[in-house]
């Protein structure tokens, strides 16, 4: 049962990878091609996910939409891991007063939910795909800083760093050898889980009309366009959302054993 779930999740992730890199392998259609003779057709053998109000094939658009929908999350998580990891580690190993300031600031960020922070960035920069990408990144960074800081602080006082400095290793080098690797492992675990919520936030912002503009085949935009057809054609909104939900479920299913491995890896160090 567990293995079936893992295999299914791996298959979904593989499919997504192909859709991002080589969408033409999965569909022969054009995501932007309109066809006035095939408007709002329900799912069928010819159009697996039906067609939308302009006669575009929804399956083709879901496949081509994977790139824009997922890249934004990958980029946000990568930047958050690097920036959040650096800030958090520095705070964790720095003198007490630096850590005080950073942890106070972190406490305060809890009062502003991720989605609101992303919205604020968009309010400043205006609508657009870049604002959404930056907004999502800024929104998730506090969580990464928090994790890096806690991990670094625990390791800093675990004795290894002190032992190394007594043996003549410089402090930065001791931190790099004994603190950084485990902070990175923890961040990787958070990043895998955080990827899911990052793509959902990004798609949510596009859905609200703040990101990429139509007719780009991005999942959030597709759902926003299909929203007005809900009474007549459920499939336009259903399938992009299903793709999004399936991505998150697949990634979290794969993340569980991975995280366990990362955790036990730490224990052996």
């Amino acid at each position: 049962m567990r293995n079936v779930a893992l295999a299914l999740a791996a298959a979904i992730v593989l499919w997504l990878g192909v859709a991002m890199l080589a969408p033409a392998w999965l569909t022969s259609g054009d995501p932007l091609a309109t066809q006035t003779s095939a408007v709002l057709l329900p799912p069928s053998a010819e159009h697996w996910f039906g067609t939308d109000q302009s006669g575009r094939d929804v399956y083709t658009r879901v496949v081509y939409g994977a790139r824009d929908s997922l890249l934004v999350g990958l980029r946000a998580v990568a930047i958050a891991m690097v920036c959040g990891g650096l800030i958090g580690t520095v705070a964790g190993v720095a003198p007490r007063w630096v850590d005080r300031i950073v942890s106070r600031l972190l406490e305060v960020t809890m009062a502003f939910p991720e989605f609101l922070l992303a919205l604020l960035v968009i309010a400043v920069l205006g609508k657009g795909a870049n604002s959404v990408a930056l907004g999502v990144t800024v929104a998730i960074i506090p969580a990464y800083v928090r994790l890096a800081r806690v991990t670094a602080r625990q390791l800093r006082f675990s004795g290894a760093v002190d032992a190394a400095t007594i043996l003549g290793v410089s402090y930065p080098r001791a931190v790099w050898r004994h603190v950084a690797p485990q902070v990175a492992a923890g961040l990787l675990g958070l990043g895998i889980v955080g990827f899911g919520s990052a793509i959902v936030t990004a798609a949510g912002l596009s859905f609200l009309g703040l990101g990429i503009s139509p007719p780009a085949p991005e999942w959030g935009v597709m759902m926003s366009e299909g929203k007005n057809q809900l009474a007549r054609a459920w499939w336009i909104t259903f399938f992009p959302g299903l793709a999004l939900a399936a991505t998150v479920v697949a990634v979290s299913t794969l993340a569980r054993p991975l995280q366990r491995r990362l955790a036990t890896g730490n224990a052996h160090d």
Binding site: A123, A203, L242
Partner: protein, 317 residues
């Protein structure tokens, strides 16, 4: 005058809360100021919009009126002063005080959030109690993973599609207030319920293996009594650390759910303000978010004391 130890602890707790409250509010107000200052371009141009034909002289006058010609520290000081007196400024779009606009919409969002919260707690308790063992547990794990993973806007649209359009049970337009709140509340509640159920069940599992659970059973407590008097209590205590997550889901979710179901509320006002770059309203939402977070934290603190006797002891000592 000598204070009892108990009063002193209570006073210290109150002081800590006030300190935290002050810090959060200061941060909210400062964040709002930074947002306003970070916007590229001239604030008066943003305020008037691209279509305005105001002369440069008129623009200069507005600038002087708003104090925008003064140095930044002075502007920040007067911004702080206004916020302290509860003046959140005027909406660019509606030419009305921001605090009026937001308080008008607050009720609708609170009703939605409260309905969602009650629903989430009921669903989570039910799921955690019924599905602790056996094959049901596997089903619950999968369902909860789906509930947590599915984007709110997707569940909202699926619910609307099935129950409003296909079955016609809950009309999107018309209907009573109670009918109109049900679908949005379900959409908002599902991810919250998923997380709550997982944490609740985990907390109960942990409590069950502790010595006090064995003691209670040895004293002759039935399994039902053990669950209702001891395990549930522990499970709840572990859910109370989720206040930040809860607040974020409800506020962030409200923006989306209110848009999908065309409900009035803070979320919709926020979205409109961001789309039209009505910055005073955006700032107002930031300040309201800070206040909302503080209220939730205070409530959770009180609940934690009610649920976990060890915290009460610590306060009395």
């Amino acid at each position: 005058m000598t204070l009892s130890a108990r009063t002193r602890t209570a006073l210290r707790g109150a002081a800590r809360f006030l300190g935290e409250a002050g810090l959060v509010l200061w941060a909210a107000v400062t964040l709002a100021f930074l947002v306003l200052k970070a916007v590229p371009g001239d604030p008066v141009d943003v305020m008037l919009g691209p279509l305005s034909s105001a002369t440069p002289e008129a623009r200069a006058m507005i600038r002087a009126d708003l104090g925008l010609d003064k140095p930044l520290p002075t502007q920040y000081a007067s911004h702080l002063g206004r916020m302290v007196t509860g003046d959140l400024g005027m909406s660019y779009q509606q030419q009305r005080p921001v605090s009026d606009i937001l308080t008008e919409q607050l009720g609708a969002t609170m009703a939605l959030a409260a309905a969602a919260m009650v629903l989430a707690v009921v669903l989570a308790c039910g799921a955690a109690l019924v599905t602790r063992r056996g094959w049901l547990r596997g089903v619950a794990d999968a369902t909860e993973l789906l509930a947590v993973s599915a984007p709110v806007f997707w569940t909202a649209l699926v619910l609307a599609s099935v129950f409003s359009y296909q079955l016609g049970w809950f009309p999107i337009v018309g209907g009573t207030a109670a009918q109109r709140v049900i679908l949005p509340a379900i959409a908002l509640a599902l991810p919250v319920a998923g997380v709550l159920a997982q944490v609740l069940r985990h907390g109960m599992d942990q409590a069950e293996s502790q010595p006090f659970a064995v003691t209670a059973m040895a004293r002759g407590a039935s399994h039902r009594r053990l669950t209702s008097h001891h395990l549930m209590r522990h499970g709840f205590a572990s859910t109370l650390t989720l206040s930040g997550f809860l607040f974020g889901s409800l506020l962030g979710g409200a923006v989306i759910v209110e848009t999908v179901f065309a409900r009035p509320g803070i979320g919709r006002v926020a979205l409109g303000a961001i789309t039209n770059r009505d910055l005073p309203v955006v700032m107002g939402v930031v300040v309201f978010s800070g206040i909302g977070f503080l209220i939730i934290n205070a409530v959770v603190d009180v609940l934690a004391r009610a649920v976990d006797p060890r915290l009460r002891k610590a306060a009395d000592a």
